[in-house]
């Protein structure tokens, strides 16, 4: 099936094209059929291609679709590159994407932009597939920009509300800052290495640069800048909570499972550069560690259901960045996969809850829902358990535990990363189950009218199964030592080497991590189910930090003061067209002289004669003076 590799990204584009042409005139049943069907076909194709790829045992499949740019020494093709890393990604994208499309078929059914939604969603899936299947950086940038565009279109999907437009623009502009850094990195890579083909870069870079040379460190930082924008890490993380203004399937697909992980993909793909630039790699880890803490504290104080999940996403991607930073490449990808499953599940469940409660977002106005919507409750619970990394039974445990272990024991790991990850895990468990307990337990504050249909429930169930069992393909040394996943990625991503003296302590670390997550659950249980008064007492005591965390550690206010205010000030200043005044002045002077000289042409002949005489006089005088 190597020749059909191009169909995998092409099918969603074809679906979008068909929907564009058919438009909203088509029946309500045709639209999701085309929309979800195209992605479903893509998923099926991915499955078949993946099985073939793995059974044949090649490391790499490439397929050139057409020759794109050939200018002097710039030779780029529209070609796709399949290895196990991109295989994992396209599997997640198409499969989770398909489930989300099914969900949207029912979720967005009553919306008048039904066809438009599927068009954008298909465009998004197509662009994301191009991003991960690209064999050169320019094609990847094409996909990168495409997903940014679709993210903007989908966040501002309900464009009649002004604040949705603001959120969409905020997302786009902030990711643009990252995109610019990425573009500069591309320029630098091209000028120094002469190629943008990823594999060629991987072979040439170690030849051209020594480890730690300043050029490659700069490139590493610029790549990190691009990744930070797209993946909503520090300092460009404040767009993601506001992006929750889009519909829930959008949040599930784009802002949980796929687009925000594009940064993780970028760094993993360019791991050669990062291995040559240890400073940049350390900073990847530092940014990941700080972000996961910041987002965790913020998530603890939110009361909008989707915002909790948004901050949770930022935090979990921080984990992935932390893993990349210590060199645990396959651990980061493993966590990406598991996270995609449970976070998509959580967002879809949250969407269902919000829809059934007639667009109620505040969790403190929900409650007691576990009896009324059992399927949603149980799947949500499984997803939350995975997020909180409850030991042994959830996929999240295995992926997060790997990261925790490597952040301490990896050769680039240190105690600070480990502590940050540990505290983060504790807070994650706390806010996750705070969310679960407040939403689903307790007394019912908003009445639920009906339950969801099977198109909504089925994806939830499938994702719940995946979040539980997908973790079993990679078990740590102490628990069975299954290395299916890292073995899968081994040809692409290098293994991490451990600091020798710590290998024995793996079991202790796992115990600590497991204990913390259970402890977090218990505290949440105590605070919100058993003793609600305790919660309000704590809240009133820590009011100031509470508000600070609630506002996302003040980043919005900071950017507003530092960037927005001066910009708006300058814009207001130049609204009077200050620069134009110069040109208007020139015009005024020219006009003035025009009037002066025109008035000398009065039509009176004597004046003309006089002018001639004066001229003659001047000439004669000058000639006499010269002589």
């Amino acid at each position: 099936m190597k020749e059909l590799l191009w169909l995998i990204p092409a099918l969603p584009f074809a679906g979008a094209l068909m929907l564009i042409m058919l438009g909203s005139r088509s029946s309500k049943n045709l639209v999701p059929f085309i929309g979800a069907g195209s992605v479903g076909l893509s998923a099926l194709l991915t499955l078949i291609t993946g099985i073939q790829f793995l059974s044949v045992g090649d490391n790499v499949w490439t397929q050139q679709v057409w020759n794109w740019i050939t200018v002097m020494n710039l030779n780029l093709n529209f070609s796709f590159y399949l290895d196990t890393l991109s295989l994992v990604f396209i599997f997640v994208i198409t499969f989770v994407g398909f489930l989300i499309h099914l969900y949207s078929a029912e979720f967005m059914r009553e919306d008048e932009g039904y066809a438009r939604f599927f068009i954008f969603l298909n465009l998004f899936v197509g662009s994301m597939l191009i991003l991960v299947l690209a064999d050169n950086l320019l094609l990847m940038y094409f996909g990168w920009e495409g997903v940014g565009l679709c993210s903007y279109l989908l966040i501002g999907f309900w464009y009649n509300e002004e604040k949705n437009g603001y959120a969409a623009r905020k997302a786009f502009i902030m990711t643009r800052v990252g995109d610019t850094a990425l573009a500069v990195a591309l320029f630098m890579l091209f000028t120094t290495l002469g190629t943008l083909n990823i594999q060629e870069i991987a072979t040439k870079a170690p030849e051209v640069w020594a480890v730690g040379s300043s050029v490659v460190v700069l490139i590493g930082f610029l790549l990190l800048g691009g990744a930070v924008g797209k993946s909503a890490q520090l300092p460009l993380q404040s767009w993601l909570p506001d992006a929750m203004a889009g519909p829930s399937p959008v949040s599930a697909l784009i802002h949980a499972a796929t687009m925000v992980t594009a940064g993780v993909y970028l760094i993993a793909r360019m791991h050669v550069i990062f291995e040559l630039a240890p400073l940049a790699q350390t900073w990847v880890g530092i940014i990941g560690a700080i972000t996961l803490l910041i987002a965790g504290f913020s998530a603890l104080t939110q009361h909008d259901l989707k915002r909790i999940l948004a901050y949770s996403t930022i935090s979990q991607i921080g984990y992935m960045f932390l893993a990349l930073g210590v060199g645990a490449w396959s651990a980061a990808i493993f966590h990406f996969m598991i996270h995609a499953f449970f976070k998509a599940l959580l967002f879809l469940g949250a969407g269902a809850v919000i829809m059934l409660l007639h667009h109620e977002h505040n969790i403190f106005r929900m409650g007691g829902l576990r009896k009324k919507m059992p399927v949603i409750f149980w799947t949500f619970l499984i997803g939350s358990a995975s997020l909180a990394a409850l030991p042994l039974i959830t996929g999240g445990f295995y992926s997060k535990d790997q990261i925790l272990w490597f952040s301490l024991a990896g050769e680039k790991g240190n105690i600070w990363f480990f502590l940050a990850a540990l505290i983060g895990a504790f807070i994650t468990a706390m806010y996750t189950f705070r969310m679960v307990f407040v939403t689903f337990f307790g007394e019912e504050k908003t009445h639920v009218s009906h339950d969801a249909g099977w198109l909504i429930k089925t994806p939830l169930i499938v994702l719940a199964i995946l979040s539980t069992f997908a973790g079993f393909i990679e078990l740590p040394h102490t628990l069975g030592h299954v290395e299916l996943f890292s073995g899968l990625l081994q040809p692409v991503l290098p293994d991490i080497s451990l600091q020798a003296e710590l290998t024995s302590k793996e079991f202790i670390i796992q115990l600590i991590a497991a204990g913390l997550s259970i402890g977090g659950v218990y505290i949440a249980y105590y605070t919100y189910v058993n003793n609600p008064a305790f919660a309000s007492r704590i809240k009133s005591e820590i009011n100031v930090p509470y508000n600070f965390w609630h506002a996302g550690w003040g980043f919005d206010a900071l950017y507003n003061a530092v960037i927005m205010r001066p910009f708006v000030f300058i814009s207001t200043l130049s609204k009077g067209d200050v620069i134009d005044r110069l040109y208007e002045g020139l015009v005024a002077i020219a006009n003035f002289f025009n009037r002066v000289f025109a008035s000398t042409q009065s039509g009176i002949m004597r004046w003309y004669m006089m002018a001639i005489v004066i001229g003659t006089l001047l000439v004669v005088t000058l000639s006499l003076l010269m002589l």
Binding site: M610, V613, I614, T616, L617, V620, T621, L624
Partner: protein
């Protein structure tokens, strides 16, 4: 030589009279006197033919032509009054200063070169004719063309076109 200076004085004086008269015919008569004086100067300088030509063409033809046109215009006494009104007292100040400066510069230029005396030789018309139709033949041709264009132009421009009005509108007009 005395002839020259006397004639020169008369020429200057009569020219000053030309430019200060209010009546056109008076000015033209003074102009004739000026031309006659200049003709005498020509004669003194050894160009008798030119003197004759000056009187015939300039004084005899051009000035007469202007007199005819003035008579054709049929100007009444009010033109003299008009002229008196236009030429006020201080009208000569500006042009006077400029022209005086120009004159001073011209005199300076003339006197700053070496002194020469004019020869006494009288240049016969024959010699003039031979030179004219010899090296300067093309100038003659050009003058012919110029004169022809003058004739054609004068004829064409001098026509009075009567405005043709349709007879229905004529009654309205009158």
């Amino acid at each position: 030589m005395i002839t020259f200076y006397v004639a020169a004085t008369i020429a200057v004086f009569s020219t000053i009279m030309v430019i200060t008269r209010y009546n056109m015919i008076h000015a033209l008569l003074y102009l004739v006197v000026s031309f006659l004086a200049v003709a005498i100067v020509f004669y003194v300088l050894g160009a008798p033919f030119m003197a004759a030509l000056e009187i015939i063409v300039y004084a005899g033809a051009i000035v007469v032509l202007i007199i005819f046109v003035i008579m054709m215009l049929n100007l009444k006494q009010e033109s003299v009054e008009q002229e008196r009104a236009w030429m006020g007292n201080n009208i000569f100040i500006g042009p006077g200063i400029l022209s005086f400066i120009l004159l001073a510069e011209i005199i300076y230029m003339i006197t700053s070169s070496e002194t020469n005396v004019l020869s006494e030789k009288v240049i016969e018309p024959k010699e003039v004719g031979i030179t004219l139709y010899g090296p300067y033949a093309i100038g003659v041709e050009l003058c012919g063309i110029l004169l022809m264009s003058g004739i054609v132009g004068a004829y064409h421009l001098g026509r009075q076109k009567k405005k043709v009005v349709h007879r229905f509108l004529e009654s309205q007009e009158s």
